[in-house]
């Protein structure tokens, strides 16, 4: 290659200098032993976090009103999941990256109907409940407008909701079976039966926790526990984990964008951050082909530190 056509950020002349003995197998063995020992030392001294999972039983016993309000939001369609959009439902058009409504285009692939999946179907699973059976029949036979009217009336009065004598109490009229639904669902949750009902809707064997996790995330209990553990989005929570552990520190840049405008205030924040990270990842991948970016190493001369010994030898000779 002629000197004229030589591109210093792309080309490299084959090495014509000296060679020194180098036992690559020995180096690899030593590295493996050292890393294994270091891992053991870190594991012995620091361990690993394992805070138990929160159950709907724990949540509904700790804050029954929060649970009941969340259950009501699933019934009246105001919960986060009810208004989520794809892939769960058509509650909203979802986020957009400019003109690209990616989630909406993919559509509803994991259908979740908050009324039936979170309230009606679990209640149907309760055995030997004559009043509840009657209430479910009343709900089934009512017109959509009547159901909406019951739920709306109950929702209006729900600001006075209390939990007394192990019952959810709301002073409301013309609400049909709604009070019974909310109260029975709360008691079902407190017994632990709702956890089981949400998991086993797809059958006996399952490893899919989509429904109970979505229900938990709609309430404020899970988020409050996370805030105590410095895990929320504005606490750089995406890269943290419980306790004083490094967590996913490699997600620092992804997490950083959530702390600054416009990402931390935009309704399209998630897809904007993802779009930006995809672009940056593509930039990293294609660095060898991007003029300017590929010149930074040569221009900053950090390589002089890396190959310090080599350049010393060159200068001395």
């Amino acid at each position: 290659m002629s000197k004229k056509n030589f591109r210093p950020d792309v080309d490299a002349e084959p090495w014509k200098g000296g060679y020194s003995p180098y036992d690559i197998v020995k180096e690899a063995t030593i590295a493996l032993v050292v890393v294994a020992l270091l891992t053991v030392v870190l594991a012995v001294f620091f361990g690993s976090p394992d805070d138990p999972a929160i159950t709907i039983k724990t949540w509904s016993n700790a804050t029954p009103v929060d649970f009941a309000v969340t259950a009501l939001s699933e019934l009246n369609g105001t919960s986060g999941v009810a208004q989520y959009g794809a892939p769960y439902n058509t509650g909203s058009s979802g986020q957009a990256l400019g003109p690209l409504k990616l989630a909406k285009w993919v559509g509803v692939r994991i259908p979740v109907n908050t009324v039936t999946d979170f309230v009606i179907d679990p209640l149907k699973a309760l055995p030997d409940q004559p009043l509840l059976t009657q209430a479910l029949k009343q709900w089934k036979n009512a017109s959509p407008s009547t159901r909406t009217s019951w739920v709306t009336n109950y929702t209006k009065a729900s600001s006075t909701m209390t939990f007394a004598n192990r019952q959810i109490v709301v002073n409301a009229t013309n609400v049909g079976p709604v009070p019974l639904f909310i109260d029975d669902l709360t008691q079902m949750a407190q017994s632990g039966a709702l956890d089981q009902a949400l998991v086993t809707q797809a059958g006996f064997y399952t490893t899919d926790y989509t429904l109970p996790l979505l229900f938990l995330a709609d309430g404020s209990y899970l988020a409050n526990q996370a805030a105590r553990q410095h895990l929320t989005g504005d606490q750089w929570g995406m890269m943290n984990e419980t306790g004083n552990y490094p967590g996913q520190a490699w997600l620092w840049l992804y997490t950083f964008w959530y702390q600054v405008a416009p990402f931390n205030s935009s309704g399209n924040g998630d897809v904007l951050v993802w779009g930006l990270m995809m672009a940056l990842s593509a930039g990293l991948l294609l660095t060898p082909f991007i003029p300017g970016l590929r010149s930074i190493p040569r221009k900053t001369r950090v390589y002089r530190l890396i190959w310090r010994e080599h350049y010393q030898n060159v200068e001395e000779s």
């Binding site: 000197k3 591109r7 394992d50 990616l102 979505l214 490699w250 991948l285 890396i306």
Partner: protein, 208 residues
């Protein structure tokens, strides 16, 4: 079988091509150019070593199943080994990546080596993430319910459901490690084929 028949064999041709591309003295060299003398070179082999510990500790966790480490002190210790080897892996990998960037290690026909390294880094992030969401504890509940919004916003959540613990565990212990290990092997082989990038020639006064 005649000599010419052996010569025409796919196996013979493949072996010859492989040996021509990567002769034993290149695959397992007993010497290196004199410029390969810096602490930065340690981080590549450290990354590989940590990956081996990650895989070994993950295999031990797999033997007794996903709930074992919650109920057994031995299991919890193995999980700690898994966690800290992952932390070392990423630390070493990031230092290795920045080191290679400032060496402009893609020079001299090594751009594919650079790209396999970057893709391995991205696949490793996905592998670690699926591990975090399949822990079946409070961390996995919180991380999964938060991460779903980002992934759903791209449309990928319809097929990659972070709330489905079984699906995430399969990605974590089968699909992504398989890709990461194959990419790592390819990356290392490419390093051996092309050799370690030489230093910039400072005497050459040429334009970019």
């Amino acid at each position: 079988m005649s000599y010419s028949e052996i010569e025409r064999q796919w196996t013979t041709r493949l072996r010859r091509r492989f040996v021509r591309l990567l002769p034993p003295e290149k695959l397992l060299p007993d010497n290196q150019p004199t410029y390969v003398s810096s602490w930065i070179y340690v981080f590549g082999v450290t990354t590989l070593s940590a990956l081996m510990v990650v895989i070994a500790s993950g295999c031990v966790l797999a033997i007794r199943g996903p709930q074992w480490w919650h109920t057994s002190s031995v299991g919890h210790f193995v999980n700690s080994l898994h966690l800290w080897s992952v932390e070392i892996f990423f630390f070493a990998m990031v230092v290795h990546l920045w080191g290679k960037y400032f060496m402009a290690a893609w020079r001299g026909g090594r751009s594919i080596t650079w790209m396999t390294g970057v893709v391995t880094f991205l696949v490793s992030i996905a592998t670690a993430f699926t591990g975090y969401v399949s822990q079946s504890n409070f961390d996995s509940q919180w991380i999964a319910t938060q991460a779903k919004d980002g992934i759903n916003a791209t449309g990928a959540g319809a097929y990659f459901n972070v709330l489905n613990m079984g699906q995430m565990l399969m990605w974590h212990i089968v699909l992504l490690p398989l890709v990461a290990v194959l990419l790592t092997a390819l990356h290392v082989l490419l390093v051996r084929v092309k050799g370690v990038v030489p230093p910039f020639e400072e005497q050459a006064k040429v334009s970019a």
